[in-house]
């Protein structure tokens, strides 16, 4: 049902309805932002990627082929853009020898989460996710937080289901170890 609604919105947008695009953005902006935020670990980068994704959506929605769900199509863009952003950041760090702590502090100055309890939760989450390898992090977020199946994750990441299962196994192994250490 949701898929049909999405397809109708895309068709309306392709036919020239700007309102249809607004509806798509309002429906998915939250998921786009939080997926990027969990992958990137700070608001500034997540905001940049979210805007980038929405602009790409506006420009490329006419190429959507209705073979997959709009949700997985959008998430594929978010994942790709976020990972590219992370890789660029790593290259910058190597080239310009950026101070990681200073950079994080600066990037977290302006945040959409200001409530103290929520900030603590967010910091805890970031610390755990930061220990995971990129592929593990991606599959852990998509499966654990977004509740997607391996098949859906495979459509988004372009990786095999077997490989994703292995990545997820290693991810939850690290996560459970870290959580156990913190509880001790």
């Amino acid at each position: 049902m949701a898929e049909l609604q999405d397809f109708d919105l895309v068709k309306e947008f392709i036919a020239g309805s700007e309102q249809a695009f607004n509806k798509i953005v309002l429906k998915y902006q939250n998921k786009i932002y939080w997926h990027a935020r969990r992958l990137l670990g700070n608001h500034m980068d997540a905001d940049e990627v979210t805007q980038e994704v929405l602009i790409v959506l506006y420009n490329k929605l006419h190429t959507f082929n209705f073979q997959s769900s709009l949700f997985t199509w959008i998430f594929r863009i978010v994942s790709t853009r976020s990972l590219n952003h992370l890789r660029k950041g790593k290259i910058k760090k190597v080239l310009f020898l950026d101070d990681d702590d200073n950079e994080k502090g600066f990037k977290n100055n302006e945040d959409i989460v200001r409530d103290l309890e929520n900030r603590e939760k967010l910091d805890k989450l970031d610390k755990v996710l930061d220990k995971l390898a990129l592929k593990q992090k991606e599959v852990f977020i998509l499966r654990n937080f977004d509740g997607l199946s391996y098949e859906e994750i495979s459509q988004i990441t372009g990786r095999s289901v077997g490989g994703l299962k292995a990545n997820y196994f290693h991810a939850i192994k690290k996560v459970t170890e870290m959580m156990n250490e913190k509880e001790r």
Binding site: N22, V25, L26, Q29, N30, Y33, R38, D47, T50, Q51, L54, I55, Y58, N59, D111, I112, V113, R114, D115, N118, K121, L122, K124, L125, V128, N144, F145, Y150, K165, A166, Y168, F169, I172, K173, V175, T176, M179, N180
Partner: protein, 191 residues
């Protein structure tokens, strides 16, 4: 350790069908294993609870207008596709090649031009009675075809037809002058 890995593999659906059936069989008999599985599940669920964060700023209210503004800005900037640059540069190269093959280089042109200029230059003719004794005469040839002053030199081979005509008239005029001079010399000397 192996038990821990088996639990995580089970939760990851990272087991073969046979392994999964065996694990589930063991799970139905062992309460300890059930507790261990429940513990791991609760850690992961706890992670979900941590990740459930509510934003407390109007970020999402402002997001759409910001994106819209960026989209409009991009629309207003004239977009030039990459192939356009290639087209322009290749056209320029083709034009240069065609130009060179059609008109040649500047040196060839100037050589041709200098020959043409030489041919169209007015011919100054020097006149002399003897080849090795050039005499420049300032004879006014108002009545001649196309030159005001003609310097005449015997032996000049490259002459235009007009100049050849002028040359004939000049020599006729000179002969007349020569006769007048001779006659006056003869008259003065008493011949």
């Amino acid at each position: 350790m192996k038990r821990n890995d088996d639990i995580l593999r089970y939760l990851s659906d990272f087991m073969s069908e046979k392994e999964r059936l065996e694990f589930e069989k063991e799970l139905s008999f062992s309460e300890e294993l059930r507790n261990q599985v429940a513990e791991k599940k609760s850690i992961l669920e706890n992670m979900n609870a941590i990740a459930d964060i509510k934003e407390d700023s109007p970020y999402f209210q402002n997001l759409l207008p910001r994106v819209r503004a960026k989209v409009e800005k991009k629309k207003s900037v004239m977009w030039v596709p990459r192939w356009a640059y290639l087209l322009v540069s290749s056209t320029a190269v083709i034009l240069i090649v065609v130009n060179i093959s059609r008109f040649g280089t500047g040196n060839e042109n100037s050589a041709k031009k200098s020959v043409q200029e030489k041919q169209s230059e007015p011919t100054y003719i020097e006149y002399s009675l003897n080849n090795d004794n050039v005499v420049k005469s300032d004879i006014d040839l108002v009545n001649t075809d196309n030159t005001d002053k003609v310097n005449f030199e015997i032996g000049i081979s490259q002459l235009s037809n007009t100049n050849k005509e002028s040359l004939k008239e000049l020599s006729k005029y000179q002969r007349i002058m020569w006769n007048i001079d001779n006659n006056s010399v003869a008259y003065n000397s008493g011949y």
